[in-house]
């Protein structure tokens, strides 16, 4: 197979040879070589911590590789600085938007230029922008503030920005994680069109096999910092790719579902609250959660799910409506949560469910430290009980830590999540309210967590699962609600759930 260093239309190829990156004793990238030919759409697959980000940061000059070479358009280059990568027309689109929300798309594009003049002649800039947009296969509204654009349009604008800056080799870091499936397909179709026209070369970090098989030409797979496989996508099966990524065939446990008698437990009626921006309102008219079911709440980030979680945990004031548990009003106090056996797993547990400067043992004690004999509240802290609790949870949930006295912030994301899961799932749990439990975790951690959720459901726990990952919602839920613009706009049992239809409701078209 011949590689092209540079296409006629300007796309450039990049080759990394024997890249190694060490942080102290830890080898994040171990002798990895990949060759991304000009004008190809190359996918970079791997679990969290496999070294994908390290590799692209070395290519972009954010990290200096311990050893190895980098060829850009066939010439060896030394990425001493991100500016070098920019000058070589290498660009990166990050997972989260880097646009200024209050400025228009046009303003965002112009100010992103390194050579933007101190005084901008908007009329001539605008003429040049229009000329540039005319050459693009897709466009976005240029005169609206970016905050009004839909997520898919923002992502398109991010890609347009890279082209506007003249970059010919783009790294896309999980570009579809904030998009609906339809938006994701649209954006990636355009990107693919650009690579086929030889305009750009793309290296896309992803963990979605579907995007790899549908859009990418080639794939490279990393595991634990090593290159473990790759090649042309049309010559590989998903099974091969996932085996390379996980090391062995993933142990997908047969998740059997046992039906238990369903009783309504948690109800929300006529809830009114402000959203985070204070501009929009959250209006939840009627939601009932039953024992023994997983009620999935789908929606694109920022449509009121975070606020719903805050309302349920008592962190956000409501202006109307009622929350009841077992027919009694519920205000999320510690005593009520304990009496009704309600537990929470907020997203990003280190930020929302842990005290980062306290020890692992102390963090594991958050539920039990004040449990007195006979259900009362204890006054004296029982250090021995806290230590026993820590040892049993660390063992039971396989939390890897140097010692129970280590700060919880020193643990990896998967271990923090397992620790919090252990803390919240121990003892009687009748209601579990979960938000994005698998965000940022590797395959094995995700699998453990989903197994535990199904186990809890099978034993009669009512689970409210708020998730931005539609695959997760489809895999786990018995019933699905869609939240859009702060309201519940759609409901369906899993039997009749259709991804396309849910996606439309998520995007606000219903």
């Amino acid at each position: 197979m011949t590689r092209i260093d540079k296409t006629a239309a300007g796309a450039i190829g990049v080759e990394a040879i024997n890249m190694t990156m060490r942080f102290g004793d830890f080898t994040a990238l171990d002798n990895v070589s990949i060759n991304i030919g000009a004008g190809t759409f190359h996918a970079l697959l791997g679990e969290n911590g496999a070294g994908k980000s390290t590799l692209v940061k070395c290519i972009m000059g954010f990290y200096h590789a311990t050893s190895g070479q980098l060829l850009v358009a066939g010439r060896e280059e030394h990425m001493t600085d991100p500016k070098v990568a920019q000058s070589l027309r290498l660009g990166m689109v990050y997972q989260h938007f880097t646009l200024v929300p209050s400025l228009t798309a046009a303003e965002n594009l112009v100010i992103s230029r390194a050579d933007a003049p101190a005084v901008i002649d908007w009329r001539s800039e605008r003429r040049r922008l229009d000329a540039f947009m005319a050459t693009m296969p897709f466009s976005v509204p240029l005169d609206q503030p970016v905050s009004r654009l839909a997520a898919g349009e923002k992502q398109k604008l991010e890609i347009l920005k890279q082209l506007y800056l003249g970059n010919r080799f783009l790294i896309l870091d999980e570009p579809t994680s904030v998009l609906t499936p339809a938006e994701a397909d649209e954006v990636l179709t355009h990107v693919r069109g650009l690579t086929q026209a030889g305009e750009i070369t793309v290296l896309m970090i992803t963990h979605k096999f579907r995007e790899v098989t549908a859009f990418a030409d080639e794939v490279s797979i990393l595991r634990r910092g090593k290159y473990v496989g790759g090649g042309r996508v049309d010559e590989m099966s998903i099974d091969e790719m996932s085996r390379a990524m996980m090391g062995e065939a993933p142990q997908i446990s047969e998740r059997t579902r046992h039906e238990t008698d369903r009783q309504p437990i948690l109800t929300l009626r006529g809830i009114r609250a402000q959203d985070r921006s204070g501009l929009k309102s959250i209006e939840i008219d009627d939601v009932t959660l039953h024992s023994g079911e997983i009620l999935g709440i789908a929606g694109i980030s920022g449509n009121g799910q975070m606020e719903l979680m805050e309302i349920l945990t008592g962190q956000r004031r409501t202006f109307g409506g009622s929350i009841t548990v077992n027919g009694r009003p519920y205000a999320a106090t510690r005593a009520e949560a304990r009496a009704h056996e309600i537990r929470y797993l907020p997203e990003e547990p280190l930020r929302n469910a842990c005290a980062p400067r306290m020890s692992v043992a102390e963090n594991l004690a958050f539920r039990m430290f004040d449990e007195g004999r006979g259900g009362g509240t204890a006054f004296w802290k029982d250090g021995r009980a806290i230590a026993r609790n820590a040892v049993s949870l660390i063992d039971g949930f396989r939390v890897k830590t140097t010692s129970p006295a280590a700060r919880i912030a020193s643990l990896s994301g998967g271990n923090v999540q397992r620790a919090v899961l252990g803390r919240e799932l121990t003892g009687g749990v009748r209601v579990l309210i979960v938000s994005n439990p698998c965000f940022g975790l590797d395959f094995n951690a995700v699998s453990t967590i989903r197994d535990r959720l199904i186990d809890a459901r099978n034993s009669g726990t009512a689970i409210l699962l708020i998730s931005e990952d539609l695959d997760e919602i489809m895999e786990l839920s018995d019933r699905i609600l869609v939240m859009s613009e702060g309201r519940v706009t759609y409901e369906t049992p899993i039997a009749t759930a259709n991804v396309a239809e849910i996606g439309q409701h998520m995007a606000g078209h219903g």
Partner: protein, 369 residues
């Protein structure tokens, strides 16, 4: 390999184990200590720039603060208000609040105690003393507790609120001392009526210091027990480290914040009581001595650990006690001690960024090596 050959190996392992257990705990002592030494060094440079001898300065601090029974008396008389004012910073700090207005609670606590003292002159003196102390603690507690309530209920920045309220407190004290509660006999220095002899707090046996020092020690021990040994203290530490996590756990964050700030204010008010009942004999402008501000430095140097507050307060009390001698012998203005305290404070705040960053303080570092 013979068994004998392996013994040194095992010895090394135990040493590593001891260090890996010890060093994480040592972090909280070694970093402030290093910061204090760096503060001494920086202040020495300052003195050298002025053409003065740092060695002479530290020798005079030793002489005036710690060398004789007389100097110890001088030092210890300042320990009680420093310790109690430091608790007014350390307790709210456990909840993540930076309260720097303890001076206001000291001044108002002193005023409340003095006014109560004139009202209870006819009661048995033991009861009168208790009522005076309670009045001082109550007003101090309300004053700082209000700052906690403003923070948690209305989102008012507690640092600025407490600082500004300290000015209000001082103005209020001046108003009452010069107006409604002025003793007509106090001509040059407006004061409240002098306390009856039976209401005055005397010195402790064997130690040349008043009972306020003992109260400060007891307060520190009680606060340490509250924070380290009770579930309330544990809940406060969770809320102080991550308020979102505390809310998700359903902990009563608002009550904890108001309770801890009010308790801190009560200790500062108690400092005001001892200043009136053991030192000045009435409430007047002498209450505005800056103990509330030096207490901030004490609390930060002690990492808000109540037991560490005691030695730190003794050290800084010694420095403050030596300011007069330094003024006379070295021809330096008495604000020199403030320069010293300011330098130490800046370096302490800088050192806060080191916690959790230095690998020698992690268990893993010693286990690997």
């Amino acid at each position: 390999m013979s068994t004998i050959g392996r013994i040194p190996d095992q010895d090394r392992l135990t040493a590593a184990q001891i260090l890996s257990g010890l060093m994480p705990r040592a972090e909280a002592v070694l970093i402030p200590l290093a910061a204090l030494l760096a503060g001494f060094a920086a202040f020495s440079l300052f003195l050298l720039a002025l053409g003065k001898s740092p060695a002479e300065f530290y020798a005079l601090v030793w002489k005036a603060g710690f060398s004789s029974a007389f100097s110890w008396q001088n030092t210890l008389s300042r320990v009680s208000p420093l310790v109690l004012a430091a608790l007014c910073v350390a307790l709210p700090a456990r909840l993540g609040l930076v309260v720097i207005g303890g001076e206001g609670a000291i001044v108002l606590g002193g005023l409340a105690a003095a006014v109560t003292g004139t009202a209870v002159a006819n009661l048995p003196s033991g009861l009168g003393m208790v009522l005076m102390a309670l009045a001082g603690m109550a007003l101090g507690g309300l004053w700082i507790g209000a700052i906690g309530a403003l923070r948690i209920k209305r989102g008012v920045n507690e640092t600025i609120a407490s600082l500004l309220m300290a000015y209000i407190a001082i103005a209020l004290m001046n108003h009452f001392v010069e107006g409604p509660f002025r003793d007509p006999a106090s001509l040059n220095k407006p004061s409240t009526a002098p306390l009856a002899e039976g209401l005055r707090v005397g010195d402790m046996p064997f130690v040349a210091a008043h009972w306020g020092v003992f109260a400060g020690v007891v307060a520190c021990v009680l606060c340490w027990i509250l924070i380290e040994r009770t579930t309330l203290g544990f809940a406060a530490r969770i809320a102080g480290d991550n308020v979102r996590a505390a809310q998700v756990q359903g902990l009563p964050v608002a009550r904890l914040v108001i309770g801890f700030t009010a308790l801190g204010g009560a200790f500062a008010g108690l400092a005001g009581y001892f200043e009136v009942a053991a030192v000045h004999g009435s409430a007047n402008a002498s209450l505005i001595a800056g103990y509330g501000y030096t207490g901030i430095l004490v609390a930060f140097l002690a990492r808000h650990n109540p037991l560490a507050i005691l030695p730190v307060a003794v050290l800084l009390a010694g420095f403050e006690a030596s300011s007069g001698l330094i003024q006379r012998r070295m021809d330096l203005p008495d604000a020199t001690i403030l320069v010293f305290e300011g330098m130490v404070f800046i370096i302490i705040l800088l050192s806060e960024t080191l916690y959790g960053r230095l690998r020698i303080f992690t268990p893993g570092f010693w286990e690997q090596s």
